[in-house]
């Protein structure tokens, strides 16, 4: 009788199909030796597959990624820096701009008049004051 041999591993790994699978299963039903070998092989296979996955040591992958990532990292840095600068400018502008005050037209007029009296250049280049003449009846 021809034994299954490497078909046993192929079966366990899902690599047997079609007529070969049917022949294998038929043989397995008749052959105690191959049945035993199947169980033993299954145990070894499970043992190797149970080996813990070892994590890549810290620093190994970042070191390799660093060659590719600086562009993204720099872009992120500049975007956040620019955003911070804009926020800062807005904040400073808000602080130095005087709050809008309520002022009456009369007060504005008198302030203007006072300023012009001290500094004629501040006022209109030439003030034309129409002559008031008495109109004879």
């Amino acid at each position: 009788m021809r034994h299954s041999g490497s078909q046993i591993s192929a079966y366990l790994d899902g690599e047997l199909t079609g007529p070969e699978l049917a022949d294998f299963l038929h043989h397995l039903g008749e052959c105690g030796q191959c049945s035993d070998e199947l169980l033993e092989t299954q145990e070894v296979r499970a043992a190797v597959r149970s080996l813990p996955v070892i994590e890549v040591p810290a620093g190994l992958m970042p070191a390799t990624e660093a060659e590719v990532l600086p562009l993204h990292r720099n872009r992120g840095f500049w975007v956040s820096t620019a955003a911070a600068v804009v926020i800062l400018i807005i904040a400073i502008a808000a602080l130095v701009t005087p709050a809008p005050a309520t002022i009456s037209v009369d007060e504005l007029n008198s302030r203007f008049a006072a300023r012009v009296s001290l500094d004629p250049a501040f006022g209109p280049a030439k003030v034309i004051i129409p002559e008031v003449t008495e109109v004879a009846e």
Binding site: S6, A10, D13, V48, P52, E65
Partner: protein, 167 residues
């Protein structure tokens, strides 16, 4: 298996880096060699992605990985079947937090690792590609450049030898 290639090598590193590391670790039992291999493979992938032809990406990647591994072995003038230290290296024990837990996890499979290292390279490689990396027989055949029947035979003989060493 036909797959599209990842967009860039960064993705290869993210998706396959750990597998490549574990492949090398189980093949050599040495974390330093494993780390060197990951870097070398990623370098080769980066250079090779432009020329990648759609096909079995896994087969292509593991062929690169295998060649890089063998080149590394040749460079150091060591035979792939050379026995390696019995004890699993205690990397970064003094530096990394929680290292005791990690070391305990690694040594969990010490007897299996030791038995793996005693296998002839061809059998060890086939078993590791199948049971550690999770490649199909077709993918292993592409990676190792042998017929699928040879892959099947190597995996089974490797497991039988492991069984002898573990019992």
């Amino acid at each position: 298996m036909t797959e599209s290639a990842p967009l860039d090598w960064e993705e290869v590193a993210r998706v396959h880096g750990r597998k490549i590391y574990n492949f090398a670790y189980r093949l050599t039992g040495n974390p330093n060699d494993a780390a060197d291999l990951v870097q070398e493979v990623l370098l080769r992938v980066r250079k090779g992605l432009e020329r990648y032809q759609p096909g079995s990406f896994e087969g292509w990647l593991w062929r690169i990985t295998r060649n890089a591994f063998l080149d590394g072995v040749r460079k150091e003038n060591r035979r792939p079947t050379s026995p390696l230290p019995d004890e699993v290296d205690r990397w970064d024990l003094a530096h990394s937090p929680g290292a005791d837990v990690e070391y305990g996890r690694i040594t969990l499979g010490d007897d299996i690792q030791k038995a793996l290292l005693e296998l002839p390279f061809e059998f060890r490689e086939a078993v590791v590609m199948c049971d550690v990396v999770g490649l199909s027989y077709d993918e292993i055949a592409v990676a190792v450049a042998v017929p699928v029947g040879t892959v099947r035979s190597r995996i089974h003989r490797g497991r039988r030898l492991l069984r002898e060493k573990l019992s």
